[in-house]
């Protein structure tokens, strides 16, 4: 009997240590990746890197200014398209989503949330690139926007639902029309949370590559015209990492560090927005 008790306690101790160790490994993976990014990328971050465009292969120097600006434009435009649709869908689900259509929309959003981004890429290619006859930053933005909408819709819905029902009633009892109650009182109260969801979504699409391969395509020149192919940091990293030159690899690490920094800033900003405001969320 005593041996049995000992064994049980031993198992308990071992498993506690094991799950702790597994968690350590998971965190270690993150630390390693971030550590390598800094170790291999930081030394290349200089003035030229941010302000110059690429130089012909074989020469050293040059930067990725065109890709940084390109990423900014493509992601910004995607947010401009995706945010209103995503937030609107989320509000619909929270306000009127109890019926059958609500169920369908919710389910489709969850399903599309897991759609491979490369499939979105070729879909937009058939939809925009093929008819227009050429690749464009705009098509890339549309592809990214499609990825954003389901994410934002679901977080918006969830956060709007957290607003106490009594607030909605108070507004309606005061003679607020439903739309105004929804926007001025309910959505306004959940704003910090909604904003967080949007930032998280933008952070996620900012690093996407696959949907841009056949839409924005990439461009070795500096371009700000959204009707033309445009470079993005993620595309740049792909090209440089899989290329044969050491100089490219160096730039790939530096670009990856910048991209990761951008994503991290957005993610941390999202947390901060959520904490610093009263009202909804965790």
């Amino acid at each position: 009997m005593n041996a049995r008790r000992l064994r049980r306690r031993l198992v308990n101790g071992t498993m506690t240590a094991l799950v702790g160790a597994l968690s350590f490994v998971a965190v270690l993976a993150l630390v390693l990746i971030l550590g390598h990014l800094v170790a291999k990328g930081a030394s290349s971050l200089d003035w030229n890197f941010f302000t110059k465009n690429p130089v012909p292969t074989g020469e050293t120097g040059g930067g990725v200014a065109h890709a940084i600006v390109g990423s900014g434009i493509i992601v910004g435009l995607a947010a401009l398209i995706g945010l209103p649709i995503g937030i609107g869908t989320g509000l619909y689900l929270a306000e009127y989503g109890s019926g059958r259509l609500g169920w369908v929309v919710r389910f489709v959003a969850d399903v599309l949330n897991g759609t491979p981004s490369i499939v979105v890429g070729i879909f937009v290619w058939t939809w925009l690139v093929r008819p227009m006859g050429h690749f464009s930053a705009f098509a890339g933005s549309v592809a990214l926007a499609i990825l954003m909408v389901p994410m934002i819709a679901r977080t918006t819905e969830e956060l709007v639902r957290l607003v106490p029902h009594s607030l909605r009633e108070a507004a309606l009892a005061l003679g607020y029309p439903r739309w105004r109650t929804s926007l001025r009182i309910v959505a306004r109260t959940a704003l910090a949370g909604i904003l967080t969801g949007c930032l998280v979504a933008v952070a996620r699409i900012a690093g996407e590559t696959a949907p841009l391969l056949f839409t924005a395509l990439g461009n070795v020149n500096f371009n700000t015209h959204i009707g033309e192919p445009m470079e993005a940091l993620s595309l740049q990293i792909f090209q440089y990492a899989t290329g044969p030159f050491d100089e490219w690899h160096r730039l790939a690490w530096a670009s990856a560090l910048v991209l990761m920094g951008l994503v991290l800033v957005l993610a941390i900003l999202a947390r901060w927005v959520l904490r610093s405001r009263h009202g909804a969320a965790r």
Partner: protein, 328 residues
């Protein structure tokens, strides 16, 4: 029933404010939101329509052969996608095999064993793994993971299991193993986050009942909490599987992109997503393009089915909430 006259009834005051009228703006609001919300289902239909139409020539030309044959020859215009289907399934399966113990470990540790003060930080750090762009994983995989595997992992593996067909051949670096390991790290945060929410949704009474009967902490977790959340946990794993199936960039950069079926994890392989990423812009003939669209369609249908299954399982545990959609 009860009408009680109180006081002499006099005529009411003159009406001094409107009572009547219609509020058109509410209808407009509802209409606008509905229109926005309808875009998602329409998008899904458009997806299926576009992919189906574009894939139709290949579907008609090759039929079932497309799924089961292995020749992929753009010159001869013969396309069989079996190797990439195999590669997709194999890499996702291996990734899940590696990721599940880690993710469950994290989820159980965070919900049951960890000191309170480390919960938020660790959860945040693990979720941060999901924030790392795929292409950055690919970069890290090429320059860090593959050398590491070559030096520290493959030799001992070979020493132990070299006699099995799963570890035969020369290890060049880019391989099913490398692709699967990177996939495992990538899906880890998703499985961990959803599992954690599932475990948190298990009523405390389940745990307390087991503890009250004299179970150790681990026994309570393993015999009461985990079985209670089983459907949700399976959902979490399937959700991770869905992510792995469609993951493109990192896999394309690490798996070797060889159109061949090999049992050895040390050999290069191919996935459906990688094939599209690599060959789509090279597809010069209509049939070639159509074949790639069929690959995309298969990938889409499979991930939709897998995700739908995962959602239904998770919904069963945590009814109605968007579990996991908050994972970064």
């Amino acid at each position: 029933m009860t009408t009680v006259p109180l006081e002499p009834v006099a005529a009411p005051d003159t009406r001094w404010r409107v009572l009547r009228g219609r509020n058109a703006s509410d209808r407009l609001y509802r209409g606008a939101l509905t229109a926005l919300a309808l875009m998602l289902p329409l998008l899904l239909v458009a997806f299926l329509g576009e992919l189906g139409t574009s894939a139709w020539p290949a579907i008609r030309h090759f039929g079932v052969r497309f799924l089961v044959t292995s020749v992929w020859d753009p010159v001869a215009e013969v396309y069989g996608a079996a190797p990439m289907i195999f590669g997709t399934l194999a890499s996702s399966f291996l990734a899940v095999l590696i990721a599940v113990p880690l993710a469950l470990g994290v989820a159980i540790y965070l919900t049951e064993f960890s000191p309170k003060w480390v919960r938020q930080p660790i959860a945040f750090l693990v979720e941060l793994l999901a924030a790392i762009p795929s292409v950055v994983y690919g970069l890290w995989g090429i320059f860090v993971l593959i050398p590491f595997l070559r030096t520290y992992v493959v030799p001992p593996l070979r020493a132990l299991f070299g006699w099995t067909p799963f570890l035969s051949g020369v290890f060049y670096g880019s391989s099913l193993l490398a692709g699967s390991v990177i996939l495992a790290i990538m899906i880890l945060p998703y499985i961990a986050a959803v599992s954690r929410e599932v475990l948190l949704a298990v009523p405390a009474s389940q745990r307390e009942a087991a503890l009250g009967m004299g179970a150790t902490r681990w026994e309570a977790v393993w015999t009461a909490v985990v079985p209670y959340g089983r459907a949700g946990l399976i959902g979490a794993v399937i959700l991770g599987m869905g992510r792995a199936l469609g993951e493109t960039m990192a896999v394309t950069m690490l798996i070797g992109n060889r159109h061949d079926i090999s049992l050895s994890v040390l050999q290069p392989a191919y996935t459906m997503a990688a094939a599209i990423a690599n060959e789509f812009s090279e597809a010069t003939t209509n049939l070639y393009l159509s074949a790639l669209f069929e690959v995309g369609l298969i990938l889409f249908v499979v991930t939709v089915a897998v995700n739908a299954l995962a959602r239904l399982l998770i919904w069963r545990v945590a009814r109605g909430t968007a579990v996991g959609s908050r994972a970064l």
